[in-house]
Amino acid sequence: MLANPYVISLMTIVLLFTFLGQSWNLMLGIGGQLSIGHALFVGLGAYSVGVLYVKYGISPWVGLLTGMILAGSVGASIAWLSFRFEVRGIYFALLTIAAAEFARIMFSGWEFVGAMQGLFFPAPTGGIEISMLRGDARFYYFVALALAALGIIGTEFISRSYLGYVWRAMRDDESAARALGVRTFQHKILVISISAATAAAGGGVLALVQGSIFPDSIMGMGLSVDVLIGPVVGGLGTTFGPLVGSLAAIPLNHLMSALGDSLRIPGLNNITYGVVLISVVWFLPDGIWPAIVRLCKAIQAPPTAWLWQSRKVEE
């Protein structure tokens, strides 16, 4: 299957969005903070890699690190400002959209980073250069695979550490968590900056894979939505949700896009996205992955247990 270049490039995107979804999932699924402007952090990562590499020939490794530090600080600043003035919940989410749009417009007019014309990476020479993180499609497939694995392991690791417990407590009930000594102000800033930094790493690799950066696609609302589709469809707050969700949603999107082109129905992929999202919210409100877990348990357990469990879920 890996011989087919289309499948390779599709899987690379699936795995990259698994990683990006994982970063978003950490923030909402565990930390309880909703971002609808993750494109800001993805874009900062992409531009850090792009500008340093295209303009100065500096290795993307340095670009990735720079992007992570930059996005982490920007995320922390937004969070600090927001929570300092008691802007939270859905208002914080609106603030993330505003910040992402602000950055997109700023980068669209900034000649140094290519403005609307974007930035182009030099065409790949064919050889694999790990020090410059350059190679063919198959090379990037393995980079994306490693990144997705790192994301899953990292999420699991954080989830089981004291941070995971404290963040889930904060997500479920902030004032109850504070009464138990959780410094929620610091922890919210921490979870947001970690999420932002990892999103930037994903963005940097995404830019290398695509070979070009345009402000409207890398920092647009569309990308923010693409980032959250995986975890929402797959299962919010679960370790494997973003992977399962990306595996389901992205190939479907590509398929519908192709089908829409041949049937001359523009926007068929977006309509399907909408239908899938509504179906998931309606039928599997906690996502595909928890449903799979329940199904596996149900097969091993007697049928009465299954009934009881499904009733519990409906509550």
């Binding site: 404290v166 407590a169 109850a176 009464a179 000594g181 959780v182």
Partner: protein
């Protein structure tokens, strides 16, 4: 007998409403004190002022001589005051044990250390057998005890309990009384906000009575119930014995 907590001339108003008016009392270490009063007397406001959830309009709260009323709730908790909520608030997606672990992370980052402290807390309130249950499988008295266990995991010097016995049957309440007495014997200081007079009589060594935001009586339970002002506040004028 050492004094653990001192409340000095505490007042709090919400707009034009004075919820707590010039209240002073102190808590002695290792004792159970009850804060009682009819509905709207300012008990919960007073409780929230001590817990750091509200800031006083005037007055001070001192824990072991240190002023704490300017600190946010998480800092107050870390200084040694743990509280429960009147409406029980278990973290829904976590097990009973995981709920009890959160408080321990105020003094350790080690997950297994937190887990063993959580077991200890659950054991002291008689919930150890249900450690792996989900919180929505617990009965109301068990949930109230889980609230207490969560607070105990923070290793408090002072435990603030907000109506832990409200809505319970007498036999269930008796079980909780036993737990509280055992905790006090272990050296913990407890401040109860309570509505059920009979239980307060049984468990508290000292009672503070609030009415319309002001303190109207303080002393051992036997003396306080005989106080005509207290009877009047609970039953209305004309019920003097």
């Amino acid at each position: 007998m050492t004094t653990l907590l001192e409340v000095e001339n505490l007042s709090r108003s919400f707009g034009g409403l004075i919820a707590v008016k010039d209240v002073s009392f102190s808590l002695r270490a290792g004792r159970i004190t009850a804060l009682i009063g009819p509905n709207g007397a300012g008990k919960t406001t007073c409780f929230n002022l001590v817990a750091g959830a509200l800031k006083p309009t005037s007055g001070r709260v001192l824990l072991e001589g240190r002023q704490i009323d300017n600190s946010p709730p998480e800092a107050v908790c870390r200084m040694g005051i743990a509280r429960t909520f009147q409406i029980v608030r278990p973290m829904r997606e976590m097990s009973v044990l995981e709920n009890a672990m959160i408080g321990a992370f105020s003094w350790t980052r080690n997950v297994s250390e937190a887990r063993s402290k959580a077991y200890e807390s659950l054991e002291s309130v008689g919930l150890a057998a249900k450690a792996h249950a989900r919180t929505d499988q617990l009965t109301l008295p068990d949930r109230k005890m889980l609230e207490t266990a969560k607070a105990l995991s923070t290793r408090p010097k002072l435990l603030l309990l907000d109506e832990v016995m409200a809505g319970l049957r007498p036999t269930e309440a008796a079980g909780i009384v036993g737990v509280l007495q055992k905790l006090a014997e272990g050296g913990l200081t407890i401040l109860l906000v309570e509505h059920v007079m009979r239980i307060v009589m049984e468990v508290a060594s000292r009672v503070v009575v609030l009415h319309h935001g002001a303190k109207i009586a303080e002393g051992p339970p036997g003396e306080v119930v005989a106080d005509p002002k207290v009877l009047e506040s609970y039953l209305g004028a004309g019920f003097h014995a």
